[in-house]
């Protein structure tokens, strides 16, 4: 069967069981868009290519399947680079197809030409410039294989226009032939044995669960390990939901804005069991002062992560789920475990949990202050309260998506996660503007779930044009803007570390008019200014399932995220909420 390169590409995507492509056409990718009309694959037309990339990421986060994006050459390709970099940092499987100028024009500075494979070299797991239509099925098969196996990540296929229009004899390869690609899977039994011995001997162990738990679908297995050993768990920003917050041994999020117990447990631990986590600087704080007395067991599928930051006593190079299964099997073989030795440790942790929960000032100020620009009154609604109400009023399996900044930290802190893959955010790259498109992608992948995005006003403005996409494609996402009129996290740093000199962080609560924006894009727009309005607005939004909803929550701009470990400081120097500081000095005496 003779097909054009474009037809072969679309057919190859069908062979990979792709159900949806997020994209936007243009000159060089035009030939590929023609056969899309006849394909059963759904195409979602975005308003900006970055949106296509983040939608594909949100889809991948929510479903565990690779997200697919398709854009044109030049600016189309460069616009999606941010999303590729984001997916690379957070190990999200993504297949991005870009158009390219004809092979005869490559290197001539042709219209809409860019060196796409060169530009994306550092932000993809691998990429291909296709020079022969006959290579397309093979490359597509390789692309999906590489994106989804080992440590997942984004890949990119760059297709010149003439390759898309030339013909080839259709075939579908039996498998892939990649002599340089052998991702690890099963753990070394000797390493498992050594890890089991450390686990049995530890008196203050902590499981440090990272995003690898979700990637390897190891949530259930992790629970088996915890139930067997009684070891408490911290879940990193990328692993929220990988272990239920309601479990008595869940300590929550560690790191710069993690809770006191999670941070301090790691500092005091004599054993850290790192499962698919990578000792990110936002978790470790000052590395030389991080968990100084802990031995480390490090399970990772990426050899380059093992020993990159912290040299482990036991390294297990394997798929996280298979390694945990082997560990559970090894530990079970020696009969029931004595959890009694952990009792003093668990008691200490429980004491910390009782003394240092996440907290905020629940009483609203008597008098609203004048805002920075002097034109209005400072709202008194607490952002944390909004998230608490949102959690209480939505189904337990609601998918929560966030952007980057204060609202992201509050969302991670104050939302109780019960299920894996219900938390979607930009962890590694910290991409503002992630939430709206990622929420759309998540809702496309899981139409059965309620999808809420908690966004900041700064983030929202970066990608909110995709609400038009959501309306046009009937994707009923719900967006809660925590509108504090500032680039809040930057403002917090300027407050704490730059003597309250606020440089270029004020955005205004009214510009743009978020309700007007929502309505202009075909969404329902609501505004909430007081505590009493919060619940009814959320309930109203929950009842709307035929169009997107945006709620503009006017929140207190003075609110800070606590606890906080200042950048570069030791985790021992964690700064708790002001209301807990007196107690802290009592405790230390």
């Amino acid at each position: 069967m003779e097909l054009t390169g474009a037809q072969a590409l679309v057919k190859s995507l069908e062979m990979q069981e792709v159900e949806v492509i997020f994209g936007l056409p243009g000159g060089a990718i035009l030939p590929v868009y023609d056969p899309i009309i006849d394909s059963p694959i759904r195409h979602i037309l975005v308003r900006h290519e970055q949106g296509a990339g983040h939608m594909a990421e949100g889809y991948a986060h929510a479903t565990g399947r690779p997200g697919v994006a398709m854009v044109t050459s030049g600016p189309g390709a460069t616009n999606i680079v941010t999303a590729l970099a984001d997916a690379y940092m957070d190990s999200i499987p993504l297949v991005c197809v870009t158009g390219q100028v004809a092979t005869s024009s490559i290197g001539t500075d042709a219209f809409q030409e860019s060196d796409t494979t060169g530009i994306t070299l550092g932000v993809t797991k691998h990429n291909w410039l296709v020079t022969d239509a006959a290579d397309i099925p093979r490359i597509v098969r390789e692309a999906f294989h590489i994106a989804t196996t080992g440590r997942p990540g984004p890949v990119l296929i760059d297709i010149p226009k003439d390759v898309a229009t030339s013909t080839m004899d259709w075939y579908w390869p039996d498998g892939v032939d990649l002599p340089g690609y052998h991702p690890p899977s099963q753990p070394d039994p000797a390493a498992i044995h050594a890890a089991a011995e450390l686990l049995l001997a530890a008196e203050r162990p902590v499981i440090y669960a990272g995003g690898g738990i979700l990637k390897s679908r190891a949530s259930k297995t992790l629970r088996d390990l915890v139930d067997l050993t009684g070891i408490p768990v911290v879940t990193t920003l990328m692993a929220r939901g990988a272990f239920p917050d309601s479990h008595p041994l869940c300590l929550g999020m560690p790191g710069m804005h993690g809770n006191y117990t999670a941070v301090t447990a790691m500092q005091q631990a004599d054993l850290l069991v790192a499962l698919g986590s990578r000792f990110d600087d936002r978790v470790t704080g000052k590395v030389s002062a991080f968990a100084p007395r802990a031995k480390v067991i490090h399970v990772d599928i990426d050899k380059a992560e093992i020993g990159k930051v912290r040299r482990p006593e036991v390294a297990i190079l394997a798929d996280c789920r298979l390694a945990i299964e082997a560990l559970v099997e090894s530990l079970s073989a020696s009969g029931p475990l004595d959890k009694g030795r952990l009792e003093p440790w668990i008691a200490t942790l429980s004491k910390w949990q009782a003394e240092y929960p996440y907290t905020y000032d629940r009483s609203e100020p008597e008098q609203a202050e004048v805002t920075a620009n002097g034109t209005g009154r400072r709202p008194t609604l607490k952002p944390q309260f909004v998230i608490e109400r949102l959690r209480a009023l939505t189904p337990p399996d609601t998918i929560l998506v966030s952007g980057v900044g204060q609202h992201q930290m509050w969302a991670s802190q104050h939302w109780a996660f019960e299920y894996p893959n219900t938390w979607i955010n930009s962890g590694g790259l910290g991409t503002m503007g992630f939430a709206v498109p990622a929420a759309i992608g998540a809702k496309v992948g899981r139409p059965d779930r309620m999808v809420w995005a908690v966004d900041g006003d700064g983030c929202f403005q970066m990608t909110a044009q995709e609400l038009a996409t959501a309306t046009a494609e009937k994707i009923p996402v719900k967006i809660a803007i925590l509108n504090n009129a500032y680039l809040g996290m930057v403002r917090q740093w300027q407050h704490m570390f730059y003597e309250e000199r606020y440089s270029e962080v004020y955005l205004s609560p009214d510009l743009p008019d978020y309700v007007g924006w929502a309505e202009a894009m075909g969404c329902v727009g609501l505004r909430v200014e007081t505590k009493d309005e919060v619940g009814p607005a959320i309930e109203k939004a929950n009842g709307i399932d035929d169009k997107p909803v945006v709620i503009d929550f006017r929140t207190d701009s003075m609110e800070h995220v606590f606890p906080m470990v200042p950048a570069g400081a030791s985790n021992d120097d964690i700064v708790v909420h002001p209301s807990q500081r007196l107690r802290e000095s009592e405790v230390s005496q």
């Binding site: 340089g180 990426d302 380059a304």
Partner: protein, 179 residues
């Protein structure tokens, strides 16, 4: 503080990297080094006897990052098939040197004599200089370079180190190989 900047010194470690012979592979390797802040001291690349593969010999400056981390990151490149570190004790190393040495007539015979000692070859002769080619172990070339320096070096180009593992010369293995 004196640091050993000589090839073969502890700062420099030689990796023999087998790669798929595909376009852009060298850019992937070089790009990885630059974006992760690793330093390349020298690099030589050529196809192997199997046209599907090329071999890149990279001398890595391990001052910037531990070799183990460099190797682990390199290994993640899909087109890299195999990475072997060749220790100087376990490898036969070679490098090629071209050097133009300024010599007046009075010194020329001394230079030619040294070229003979190092089994070099004179590939060009001018009024005030000669160009010499020397091949051999990298430390030998270092010595030759130092000996030429007093005469004046007008231009120099080295290829970077290439190497293969030493062959096993023990009798039993040899027999097994023949069998």
């Amino acid at each position: 503080m004196t640091q050993d900047y000589r090839p073969g010194g502890p700062r420099h470690r030689l990796l023999s990297v087998l790669v798929e012979n595909k376009s852009g592979v060298l850019a992937r390797v070089a790009g990885l080094f630059s974006r992760r802040g690793y330093n390349i001291f020298s690099l030589a690349v050529a196809p192997t006897d199997d046209e599907r593969f090329s071999r890149i010999s990279i001398v890595v400056d391990v001052e910037s990052s531990p070799l183990e981390q460099v190797v682990a990151q390199l290994d993640k490149l899909i087109n890299i098939v195999e990475i072997v570190e060749l220790h100087p004790d376990e490898a036969r190393e070679a490098e090629l040197l071209l050097v133009s040495v300024t010599t007046d007539a009075s010194q020329r015979s001394q230079v030619i004599q040294l070229v003979g000692v190092f089994a070099g070859r004179i590939v060009d002769v001018g009024q005030d200089a000669i160009t010499v080619m020397v091949a051999g172990a990298p430390d030998l070339l270092d010595d030759f370079e130092s000996l030429m320096r007093p005469y004046g070096i007008a231009g120099i180009q080295r290829t970077g180190r290439i190497a293969l593992p030493k062959l096993d010369t023990s009798a039993s293995t040899a027999t097994a190989n023949i069998a």
